[in-house]
Amino acid sequence: MRNKLTSLSEAIARVPDNAVVALGGNTLHRSPTAAVHELIRQRKRGLNLVKTAGAYDVDILCGAGVASAVSAGFVGYENVFGMAPLYRRAVEQGLVRACEHTCYSVIAGLRAATQGVPFMPVNAFSLSDVPLAQGYKQVADPYSGAEVFAVPAIQPEVAIVHVHEADAEGNARIYGTLFEDVLMVTAAKHVILTAEHIVDGSTFAAQPELTTIAGFMVTHVVHAPRGAHPCSCHGLYDMDMGYLGDFYAQAQTADSFEAFLREHVLDAAYHEMAQDVEREADTLEWSEAALGDVSHRAR
C-alpha cells in the first residue's frame, strides 16, 4: 500500500493554474478551507471551481483572484449572511465567469466524467432560461425521440475533499452528510484529501462499509486538523460565527478584504496554524452523539 501522506503545500503545489477544481462540502459545511487558503497563498490563477453550493470557499477564491470561473448551482451564505459579496463583485466586473448550473446538473456533469461518457442526460431545465444562457443542448432519445437536456461531462483536474478520517493510502470516512464528495473523487483526475485525523487503515477493516472513499482513487492525503474551519465539520465543530462575521463585514470593500486576506490567509501559513490547531485538536472530544457509535477513532 502506498503512503500518500504529504504536506498541504506539496499537495496544493500540484494544482495547475487554469485547472478545473472541484471543492467538497456544501455552503458553510465541511469545505476544504485549509486547502482553499493554501491555493490563495500559492497564488493560483484561472481556476474553474466546481461545486453544487458554495459559500466562503468560492467567495474568497473569487475575491483573491484565484478563480476565473465558477460552475455551481448556488453561491451564497443562505440566511446566515446573505449574498456572496466577493463572488458577486467579481462576476459583475467581468473578472469571474458564472457558469450557472442547477446543483443537479453539476452532479450530472460529474457523473458523466465518472462514467467515461461525454454527456449525461438530465431531467431538469425543462422550463428554464439557464440552458440558453449557458449553451446546454438537448439530445433525442434514440428509442422514443423524446428530447432531454444533455450536460457536458465535468472532469475536474483535481478534487479537494475534507474528510473526518483517512489512512495513508487514502481510504477515508466521512461522518454525517456526504454531499457530492464521493462523486467528485470518482470524477476527478487527481484527488487531494485533507483529513481531520490520520488513522491506521487496518482499523478500517472492522467496518469497511463506513469507508466510502477507496484509497486507490486518491492521489494525496494531508493531515489538516480543523481543516474545514470556519465551516462546520459534522460531529467535530460548528461554524465559527465570529470569524465568519468578521470576514463578511470586511469582504464588503476591497480594502478591508485585502486586510482580512493578509491577516487570516497570506500571513498565516498553514503549517504554523496547523501546529496550533493540532494541539487544540488533540484535546478535542469527538462528539459521540453526533458521530454515533464510531468504533475507531484516531489518535
Binding site: 443562505e78 440566511n79 422550463l127 439557464v130
Partner: protein, 245 residues
Amino acid sequence: MEAVLFSPDILMPIVMARLLRNGETVFHGVASPLPMVAILLAKALRAPDLIYLNITGSTDPTPAALPRSTVDPALFAGTRSRVTLADLFDLSARGKLDTAFLSGVQIDRAGNINMSLIPGPDGDPHHPKVRLPGGAGSAAIMPTAKRTLLWRTKHDPRVFVERVAFRTTGGNVDRVVTPLCVFRRVAGLLQVETIHPGVTPAQLQAATGWPLSVSASTPRTPEPSEAELAALDAVDPQRARLIEF
C-alpha cells in the same frame, strides 16, 4: 371585526404547514428556515408520517436546536439512514418527490422564479447588472416534483413581478405563501386564494406587480389555532425562523 394581527413569522410557517399532507415526501433546500419549521410543525400537528427530506441526506431528523443554515449537521441528527443530495434530485427526476419548498428573488405572475441574475444593458447573462446566488436545485426540482410550494418573506412589487427578468425555472407551482396572502396557481397564473388577517385588498394590490382579483369578499386566511401556536412554540422555541425576517 378585523382579526387580531399575527406577525408573519408566526402566520407563515403555520400556513405553510397546513399545506402539507400526511405520508408525503417533502423536501427543502438551502436557505429554507421557514420550510424547516413548517415541516416539523406539520409532523407535530397532524402529519406524523410525512417524510422530511433535506440536503443533509437525513430522513425525518430530530434536531436538538434549529440551525441558522438549513444544510447544517443539526439536520442530520436522529436519522436512521443516509442518502445523498444526488439521491434526492433523482427522486424528484423520476417523479417520486411529492412536495418541494422553493423560493425566488423574483416571483412572477406565472409562478416562475428568478434566482440567477438581473441582466445588464447588453442582455448578456455573462455581464449581468446584478449577479444573484443561483437557483441551487430549483431548475431540477421545480419542473419534476409533483408540486412546489413557494414562499417569500418579503412581499413588494420588486419581488412579485409581472414577469421575471430571468427565468431560473418554472414548474409545478401549487401555492405561494407571503406575509400578506396565499396565492394559488390556477390555469397557469397566480390567483389570491386567501388574504391574511389584517391585510386589506388595497395593501395587497399595492405590494404586487400585477393586477389582482381581490375584494372585500376575498376569503381570509384562517387564524392560527391555539394548538398551532403551541406546536410552533414547541417546534421552534428559540425562533430560529426569525433569521428570515
